[in-house]
Subunit: 207 residues, 2 copies
DNA sequence: CCAGTATCGCACCGATGACTGCTTTTATTG
DNA sequence: CAATAAAAGCAGTCATCGGTGCGATACTGG
């Protein structure tokens, strides 16, 4: 008998700067504060239940505001995850497919190695449902597609996007989320090596 | 100021039939009822918050019982996930590594395709923390190790367990948890094919 | 069949989470 | 600079979650 709050005005759909209304200073500041509070609380992992009042209190914002802008913890987490995982890092351009992928995989590995990030992913999956799951991927697909497209323009035959996801993205995410194995960059490079048979690796030293 | 309940007697560590104490009729029945209630509630996905009182009510069990046997929602979910994912299906034995893996991957795909199972995984990840994540894997590693060991006894060189995880388990889980792409058995077979180059597939018709 | 004990049900309490009108502040627009 | 409307703050209500002490119950071993 809950879950639906038919009254909330909620102008913007809780995504980025509210569509056409008021991107002004305060809203943005509140949004940032809430986002940071969520990240911190999720990172703390004190089993603090991550509830709206707690988030609001830590953000120095009134709970009402959070209730109105975001409807529930799930939506809030999805929003945070979205802005955390989209536009994050730039797509590498090393000149070769292998180089791009190795760089990209290494970036992803480093990103997912952060315990705070990992906690955010888990929490978002837990209460963000289908939407939250999507949010945890961010641009990944577009970014990989861009790499692939560039390589195609360059000439060579490329693996499909799905194949790439299976061979690269999936192992990274799986290890991070489900196991406690370390996400070494050497291992990430191995993934690329298995995906692209033969020929020597492009990046001798990492970063 | 929560998370630790120093008083609870809690004889069995909330795992399977209580170690040496009392596997008797009622306890087992209660346990089963609670487990089923959790599964149903998680499956319902009504955003019902999945709280202890709610679980207890649906199980027809008093909340106190749940509080005492399991300490928190996280532990409860971990327990349910563990018993859901361990000893589930038998390790296939088709006589060849490829056959075993294809069969195993297909089973896993079918298993993870169930929306209820998926919801359980997500919820467990969300509030079960590290332990919950481990619980979602069940015997997978041992089972794959068994398949590998059998193949080694048979003679052939086998891929490493980690490699197997990256190439098979990870994509399955990733697709299920993070995307809404279907987990077709044909695709699962492709995964095996990419893992084991050359030679024709062993199972012409599935199941 | 009986004693012993683990386990469950019941009544109860404090704390706090979810949600709602109303007022006040702040950003935009002319 | 003034008017307007959106968004945030405030106070307060209601439901219910988390947790405890005690008595009743059912399982186990002799």
């Amino acid at each position: 008998m809950s879950s639906v709050s038919p009254s909330a005005p909620r102008t913007g759909p809780a995504g980025a700067p509210p569509a056409g209304s008021r991107p002004g200073g305060r809203s943005a500041r509140v949004r940032a504060a809430v986002h940071r509070a969520v990240k911190e609380l999720v990172a703390d992992e004190s089993g603090d239940a991550l509830t709206i009042p707690v988030v609001a209190a830590r953000a120095g914002v009134h709970a009402t505001t959070v209730y109105r802008r975001w409807g529930s913890v799930g939506e809030l987490l999805s929003d945070v995850a979205t802005s955390r995982f989209t536009g994050g890092f730039v797509v590498p351009d090393t000149g070769s497919l292998r180089g791009d992928l190795e760089r990209y995989a290494a970036n992803m590995a480093r990103d997912l190695s952060d315990p705070d990030t990992l906690a955010l992913v888990r929490a978002t999956l837990g209460s963000g449902g289908e939407q939250g799951a999507a949010a945890c991927q961010g641009d990944r697909r577009q970014q990989l597609a861009a790499i692939l497209e560039r390589e195609e323009a360059r000439g060579g035959g490329t693996p499909s996007l799905d194949h790439l996801t299976d061979a690269l993205v999936a192992p990274l995410y799986y290890r991070a989320v489900f196991t406690d194995l370390p996400l070494a960059t050497a291992w990430a490079r191995d993934l690329v090596a298995r995906l692209l048979p033969d020929e020597a690796p492009q990046l001798p030293a990492d970063r």
